[in-house]
């Protein structure tokens, strides 16, 4: 970790208007929870279903995409990354510092609001904890995956979108095998293991999911650092 890189990344990602935009997104999920609570009496199963549909299948992937690419993409885009790369700091340290900011942002602005929404929807402490753990796992993996994509290709946002919107939902609903390669299912598996029995179902076993989450996280972090070593700057088309 490098404190200066952390500070500069946080400034770039959350500085000025961006913090308000991301904060508004975070607020949205809480507002939905309040609105649902006011409109209808919700059982714990409904709360779980709503959180799964809104938070897990759209909110977290999109937030991970914004935060994961936002940690490094602007610098690569405008070429100022060369100033950072020229400093005597290990590329792995750069990636880890940026990742720390991304995960911090997703925890504060996506995981906590998700848990807050669960509380507002009247879920029990065990369910709240389960969704928090699942959201944290998903947020961390999405952040590192999209950060890695940004280092590897200039079209990270588009590839990330295709993965998050089409692979996880569209392909996953037709081809069951695709679900074991879905971050969402890994996170749901974590949630399933903590939540009261029968509340959430996941298609991936807990052992496999945990292995994939931890393994994917570590491998992607390491590989992103490696790829930063051989980064080439390309011009805008």
């Amino acid at each position: 970790m490098n404190r200066t890189i952390v500070r500069l990344t946080a400034q770039g990602m959350l500085g000025g208007r961006r913090l308000w935009l991301l904060g508004a997104l975070a607020l949205l999920i809480v507002v939905i929870a309040v609105a649902t609570r006011l409109l209808v009496p919700v059982s714990e199963a409904d709360a779980a279903g709503l959180l799964r549909a809104v938070a897990f299948s759209t909110f977290l992937p999109l937030f991970g995409l914004i935060v994961g690419t936002g940690a490094i993409a602007p610098e690569i885009d405008d070429g100022s990354i060369v100033h950072l790369l020229a400093k005597p700091v290990s590329r792995h340290t750069i990636v880890q510092s940026k990742l720390l900011v991304a995960i911090g942002a997703i925890t504060a602005l996506a995981v906590v609001p998700t848990m807050l929404a669960a509380v507002i929807l009247g879920a029990g402490p065990q369910t709240v904890l389960a969704f928090g753990a699942g959201a944290l796992a998903a947020g961390a993996v999405y952040s590192v995956l999209f950060l890695l994509l940004t280092v590897v290709t200039r079209h990270a946002v588009i590839i990330g979108l295709v993965y998050a919107l089409m692979w996880e939902s569209l392909v996953g609903s037709f081809v069951p095998g695709a679900r074991s390669l879905s971050v969402q299912q890994w996170a749901l598996s974590v949630t399933e293991s903590i939540a009261p029995a029968g509340l959430v179902t996941a298609d991936v076993g807990l052992g496999l999911a945990c292995g994939l989450i931890v393994g994917g996280f570590v491998a992607a972090t390491w590989y992103a650092g490696n790829r930063l070593n051989v980064l080439t700057l390309a011009a805008e088309d």
């Binding site: 939905i32 409109l39 919700v42 709503l50 809104v54 690419t69 979108l161």
Partner: protein, 301 residues
């Protein structure tokens, strides 16, 4: 002695500048030129090969299920199992809205953000082209592009239905309705995406913002509708919630105007709701046009 030696040196030769005195395009002609150029640019035509990947990739993603469904219709009709299309035309856009959202999100920043980033607006405005013409050309190009994306698979489905010898009159009517719906989808989505894209010169940021708005609003609205319709058993309220996301808004108009089944847990219920959906959708397009003209009145030349 060669002639070159005797010629005076250091002269800049006047090769003669010839002014153009042919016919010049009118303001309308230039607007149409910008429209055609933008439409080609959205699909990546005239740009590098990698710019074609996403637009045409999404076209393929939109077409593939239609081709499969058309084949299913022909085979199913041949076996005597089917007497109508498997998927109603009007629901096609809703089913494949992920691909639609990605297409729109990539196309709109391509159409306007790059002009902002590279300050090309002054070059356009140096011609007898007004700022409002620019907005109209971009909006029209974007709407045409999205409409083409939606209409192509509908035509494939229609041809499949004709080949399967379904009732041709009924199929043609259904197709016409779905095309009208596609036009409204195209207008609403284009307006929304261009307004967002015109606020940022960064393409990546525009893409993320448009997709977030489209996908998150749909996901929130449809799951809220599900909870309200099934748990509280209140289909009327659930129907009204559909007003708050572009996709469900247009779907609601289709449900009311064409009497088709809703793609969401609840369509607009009651005599008042349907017309309200149509008015809101049209007002939304008008509002987007107004916001764009306002935005482009302030862009510095």
């Amino acid at each position: 002695m060669s002639p070159a030696d005797s010629a005076p040196s250091g002269v800049i030769h006047n090769i003669g500048y010839r002014g153009y005195d042919g016919e010049r395009l009118t303001r309308r002609g230039i607007t149409f030129g910008l429209y055609a150029h933008s439409l080609r640019g959205i699909f990546g035509l005239g740009r590098a090969a990698r710019s074609k990947v996403v637009p045409f990739g999404m076209v393929v993603v939109m077409l593939l299920p239609a081709v499969v469904l058309a084949v299913v219709a022909v085979v199913g009709a041949g076996l005597g199992q089917l007497d109508g299309p498997v998927v109603p035309y009007t629901r096609y856009a809703m089913i494949l809205q992920a691909a639609l959202a990605i297409f729109v999100a990539v196309a709109a920043p391509q159409a306007v953000s790059l002009d902002l980033r590279f300050h090309s607006l002054p070059l356009y405005l140096a011609r007898p082209l007004e700022r409002v013409d620019y907005v109209r050309a971009k909006l029209a190009a974007m709407t045409t592009a999205v409409f083409l994306l939606l209409a192509a698979p509908l035509l494939v489905l229609y041809l499949g239905s004709l080949a399967a010898r379904f009732d041709a009159g009924r199929e043609t009517l259904d197709l016409a309705q779905a095309l009208l719906g596609a036009l409204l989808f195209a207008a609403v989505l284009s307006g929304l995406s261009l307004v967002i894209a015109s606020l940022t010169a960064r393409r990546g940021f525009g893409i993320a913002a448009i997709v977030t708005v489209l996908v998150l609003s749909y996901s929130i609205v449809s799951s809220l509708q599900g909870v309200v319709a099934f748990e509280a058993d209140d289909a009327t309220t659930a129907g009204w919630i559909g007003l708050f996301s572009p996709m469900t808004l247009v779907d609601g108009v289709q449900v009311w105007a064409f009497g088709v089944t809703s793609s969401t847990p609840a369509g607009p219920a009651g005599d008042l709701a349907g017309p309200t959906f149509l008015v809101v959708a049209l007002a939304f397009v008008a509002l987007a046009y107004w916001a764009l003209t306002r935005r482009y009145r302030k862009v510095k030349v």
